[in-house]
Symmetry: C2
Subunit: 222 residues, 2 copies
């Protein structure tokens, strides 16, 4: 998890860098707007902390320029410009949050974490003797790898991520198939069948259960 700090006051930059490194983040510092802009586009950065008043390019300019090519990376303004007008200008430039100096470091950390919540989704998850490793695209049953296709992998991953909760067919179509228009299909059942076959589960086993009229649920048996 890499954070880019764009801040010209060395003292503040160092204070932030040290604090965030203690929190376990990789930190990159740029002391002027132009360098910040270049780093934002060239490095894979997860969050950008941006001052407003900077040499070379202002924070607003940096923010707008980044947004021209990258609409996703979260940008947090961190500035002494504290009027409502300025806050709105910063947000309109494409920022995701706007924190006024002086700020609480703990609150900053918490506001940074908001943007990591999704990326933090566990790379490794397990359900009974099944283990799933997203980054390697692997599924192990009793430490033995079993080949899963893309869709099978995603569907099983989704059920395990939500283990203990019922996943409705609608939720599955939305979240796994990413289909947001009206669509009537029986494809989920077909894939559940394929997954159960590969895992050697028959349909009355507790590990993955059918909830009649609703959907499916994965259960850790403790």
């Amino acid at each position: 998890m890499k954070i880019l700090i764009v801040e010209d006051e060395i003292g503040i930059a160092n204070f932030l860098k040290q604090g965030l490194e203690e929190e376990g983040y990789d930190v990159l510092v740029a002391n002027d707007g132009k360098t910040g802009y270049d780093l934002a586009l060239s490095q894979k950065v997860n969050v950008i902390l941006l001052d407003w008043i900077l040499p070379q390019m202002t924070g607003i300019e940096v923010c707008k320029s980044i947004r021209k090519t990258d609409s996703k990376t979260p940008i947090i303004f961190l500035t002494a410009k504290d009027t409502v007008q300025e806050t709105i200008e910063g947000l309109k430039a494409g920022a995701n949050d706007y924190i006024k100096k002086p700020f609480s470091f703990d609150e900053l950390v918490e506001r940074i974490k908001i943007h990591f919540r999704n990326e933090n989704e566990n790379d490794e998850m397990s359900l009974g003797n099944i283990k799933i490793i997203k980054s390697k695209h692997q599924i192990l049953v009793d430490n033995q790898e079993i080949a899963f296709t893309q869709r099978e992998f995603e569907l099983l991953g989704y059920l395990i991520k939500n283990k203990g909760k019922v996943c409705t067919r609608n939720q599955i179509i939305e979240d796994v198939w990413d289909i947001h228009f009206e669509y009537d299909t029986g494809v989920i059942d077909v894939f559940m069948n394929a997954i159960r076959k590969k895992l050697n589960l028959n349909k009355d086993e507790e590990l993955i259960k059918t909830i009649r009229g609703v959907g499916y649920i994965a259960n850790d048996l403790n």
Copy 2:
């Protein structure tokens, strides 16, 4: 775009409701925590504005309960509890933003818009004589519909959404194929070929160009 307001002070709730409706949002109001929680789960809401002090369930309880089953819908605390401690508690409960009363209505609107940026992606887009309508899953060339498969549709849509910018093969695999693990493939080229055939474009036409060594770009010709 539907906003749920969970607020027990009728005056504030009405003020917010009216203001947000003028901004063009659909607004739903709950006057106590329990009702708010029920509505949040039963209705398809895009953003939730949450007060802290509420009858039945506190905002914190509502927030935590929603997050148990719904980890996505943005929750914005809107409260008079203004200490750093409380802000952090609110954010840790799963909120996405924390605005202290009294607040500027304009700033609230701007902070709400942050969460709509992604969903606001244009339903209709065009490139030259090509028109794409996401909600209907349609592609029209000179007002004549042409059948596209799912992947073809998504890839062309991605290029048009980013028209004027080069899309690298890596970006395309990440954003269109949603593949985040190491993966070497030539599948993009195959689909570009299929798309060009359907659109009757040969490879040196300006509308969709190959950028050698990088990827592809869609260009509006003006």
